[in-house]
């Protein structure tokens, strides 16, 4: 700790504290333009110059970066300091006549006008370099720099072109003390939260009703994740709650469990490859998920149904079976769409006065009360057209209609081709198995069907079990189903687990493979073949052994063993030979 005197006031601060920080603790303001506490002092505006007296010697130092190491006397407002400050402001007034902060400082010091001829009167840049430092030291994007030197010095991207390294973070604009830097979306590279229907700040609550309701770092927008720099949040957070070393790497935890219920769910089908519907290309073409999000009271629109221009649509087309019941994508029916689409139609009717068109192949309202709901929607005056939506085009391509989009379809009930002008199109995308379902399946030794859904042990007799003992299925990961069905299946899976646990012991199938140690040559061919990792190699004995609890008795290893050391119980070679020979006898 060192004791220093600032403008007659004494204060004790830690060593290496800068004069500026010490003065702020005392409530003394020292003007500083190129200083920001989040950035290492650059000390170039020289506005914070103060008088420092050590013994008999007096010198001028910049307060922003002078580290206090010994007992000194500091004068922040002496006549000499004031003279320098006034001259500095006069020069900056001439350099950047447009900067309000300079004008304010000048007014504070009683300077009415500068003695120097003004540069461009809109100029605001005072070349303090905060933006350059923010871009290079904090963001580490290196998209801004100084060029030329001396009085010709300017700040800009390299060669005055749009810098490729710019990540559009806006840090430069944030740090600019004079408001010289502004963010404008000249080439449409900035994502608007209203358009993507998601937050684009790096640290946000995922959504308003998120559980747990704490902020998270979104790696898509986090500067640190992109460039390795920044970490300003770490500096700011007083609770030291942000830890990038932990965030940067996933941590692995091990649990010992007796049963696993797979409830990995589904993913939404991405309609981008279906070029005919214009998703991602045409404005106001949304997926059902995005539309659902918009309807949520906690959404960026606050639950209002609006187009990208913020206006309420006058007509909406809801297209069924996008990606499902389709030879090219998924042949199966996604089961849930018909009903939630009817719900969409209802919501639109409640919230807006828009016309709703439902384009369907077959209306599948099979559950309890579902058909009644369908009837209610019909009564609400929704236009229900039997015919799959064929194409969505901008209206001006075909003809100038009242809506911005044109939906083409064949109305099979009247046998006519129709073009429906609408303002907004909602694509009801298929439920599909998660992209990594097969990988997860391999990890848990359960198999996936051709559609990608996990296969149950028996479609009728064991609908929540899998071929692997102790692993059960619940929900859409097993196949498309709606919420009541998922809940029922989840409860069933839980009951299965309880049944297993209550028994206290595990009943195993009698069929499994066995290795006769004396015959096993230790070649380890079987080790790699086993899909269940049930065969291990004993290094000491130099033989392989089957763990009967993990073995599912497929017999692949039995067939492959070159020494004939593996016996598949209940399906031994002798038994099969005897069968064959018996048949042929």
């Amino acid at each position: 700790m060192v004791k220093v005197t600032i403008d007659g006031l004494e204060i004790e601060v830690e060593e290496e504290t800068t004069i500026l920080k010490a003065a702020r603790q005392l409530g003394i303001t020292i003007p500083a333009l190129c200083y920001n506490e989040l950035i290492e002092p650059y000390a170039v505006c020289r506005l914070c110059v103060v008088e420092l007296q050590r013994g008999q010697r007096t010198r001028l130092v910049t307060a922003c970066n002078y580290p206090l190491r010994e007992s000194v006397v500091i004068r922040t407002n002496s006549e000499r300091v004031q003279r320098l400050r006034r001259m500095n402001i006069e020069l900056l007034m001439a350099r950047a006549p447009g900067a309000k902060i300079i004008q304010d400082l000048a007014a504070e010091m009683g300077i009415e006008r500068t003695r120097f001829p003004l540069e461009d009167s809109d100029e605001k840049c005072i070349l303090c370099g905060l933006c350059v430092q923010a871009c290079s030291d904090v963001v580490q994007a290196y998209a801004l720099g100084f060029s030329e030197r001396g009085s010709k010095r300017v700040i800009g991207p390299p060669y005055d072109t749009t810098p490729e390294t710019c990540i559009l973070c806006g840090a430069c604009a944030y740090f600019c003390p004079t408001g010289h830097i502004k963010m404008t979306d000249t080439d449409g590279r900035i994502l608007h939260s209203e358009l993507t229907l998601g937050p684009n700040a790096a640290i946000t609550l995922p959504f308003r009703q998120a559980i747990p309701n704490v902020p998270r770092v979104n790696p898509d927008y986090c500067i640190h994740m992109k460039t390795g720099g920044c970490e300003l949040c770490v500096k700011v957070c007083q609770k030291e709650a942000i830890n990038f070393t932990e965030l940067a790497q996933d941590s692995f935890e091990e649990f010992e469990v007796g049963a696993v219920i797979m409830a990995t769910g589904f993913q939404d089908f991405d309609p981008t490859p279906m070029k005919l519907y214009g998703y991602g290309v045409l404005p106001n073409v949304l997926t059902s998920d995005e539309f659902e999000r918009m309807n949520n009271a906690a959404s960026p629109t606050g639950g209002r149904i609006v187009m990208e221009n913020g206006e309420e649509p006058r007509s909406i087309a809801i297209l069924h079976c996008i990606g499902s019941r389709d030879e090219h994508y998924h042949k199966y029916c996604s089961r849930v769409c018909c009903m939630y689409e009817l719900n969409f139609a209802h919501l639109v009717n409640v919230k807006t006065s828009a016309e709703v068109y439902q384009l369907y192949i077959d209306m599948r309202s099979f559950g309890k009360g579902y058909e009644e709901f369908y009837q209610r929607i019909l009564d609400e005056g929704v236009n229900v057209i039997r015919g799959k939506g064929a194409e969505v085009v901008p209206a001006y391509q075909k003809r100038r209609g009242e809506g911005g989009l044109l939906v083409c379809c064949e109305d099979t009930l009247i046998g006519k081709y129709r073009e429906i002008p609408v303002d907004m199109v909602v694509l009801c995308t298929a439920l599909e198995a998660r992209a990594d379902a097969a990988e997860i399946g391999r990890k848990f030794n359960i198999s996936t069907g051709a559609d990608g859904w996990f296969i149950e042990a028996h479609p009728k007799l064991a609908p929540v079990s899998t071929t692997t003992e102790g692993i059960f299925l619940a929900g859409v990961c097993q196949g498309a189903k709606d919420i009541p069905d998922s809940v029922a299946q989840g409860a069933a899976a839980a009951a299965q687990v309880m049944k297993m646990f209550c028994q206290g012991e595990l009943l195993m199938d009698g069929a499994y493979a066995e290795i006769v140690e004396d015959i096993c040559s230790g070649c380890r061919i079987c080790n790699g073949l086993c899909p269940y990792n049930a065969i291990t190699y004993d290094i000491e004995k130099k033989v392989s052994a089957v763990n009967p609890a993990m073995c599912k008795a497929c017999g692949t290893c039995v067939a492959a063993c070159p020494s004939g050391a593996i016996t598949g119980r209940h399906f031994t070679d002798e038994q099969i030979y005897a069968q064959i020979e018996g048949i042929l006898a």
Binding site: N445, I455, T467, P531, A553, C554, T556, A559, I580, I583
Partner: protein, 159 residues
């Protein structure tokens, strides 16, 4: 009397055997020439079974498993898929027409497909005629068991 081939079908428990079952339940008619042997998985099919069947008088062997990607045991049918063509080459080397061995995928719901495959295969074997192996007892323990088979095989031109 016309030639009635003897065919051994080795069927996987989960798809093909069930498929055959379905064909039966659905009262689909297919030639009675094929007699089936159930294994848990097509991956269990040891080539020895095939040689044993042929040596004991079978004229053809049909292996059926789940469709690729649908295996109950994740990947047993892929193992089978690799073994059968090799066995076919081995048969050819021995002078036995490789067409006498066939691998097909039949799922539990494909009773019709099972019926079709068995009918076709039976007709094909019927056309190929009986496999005239010298009357011998196939002894698993004889070191020259396969060469004995080769001596007695079809007169197929190899290579």
């Amino acid at each position: 009397m016309s030639f009635e081939p003897k065919i051994i079908g080795i069927l996987c428990n989960w798809c093909s055997y069930t498929g055959a079952d379905l064909a039966g339940t659905a009262r689909m008619k297919y030639p009675a020439n094929m007699r089936s042997v159930r294994v848990m998985c097509s991956g269990r099919v040891d080539p020895g079974f095939i040689f044993d069947a042929l040596a004991h008088g079978a004229d053809g062997v049909l292996i059926c498993g789940c469709h690729p990607g649908d295996c109950h045991y994740v990947e047993g049918n892929y193992k089978c898929m690799r073994r059968i063509p090799l066995t076919q080459r081995l048969l050819q080397d021995m002078g036995i027409d490789p067409r006498r061995l066939r691998l097909e995928w039949v799922s539990a719901s494909e009773g019709g497909r099972f019926q079709k495959i068995v009918t076709e295969f039976t007709e094909e074997i019927r056309a190929l005629g009986p496999l005239k192996l010298r009357d011998m007892k196939f002894d698993m323990n004889r070191p020259d068991r396969y060469s004995l088979m080769a001596e007695a095989g079809d007169t197929v031109h190899t290579y």
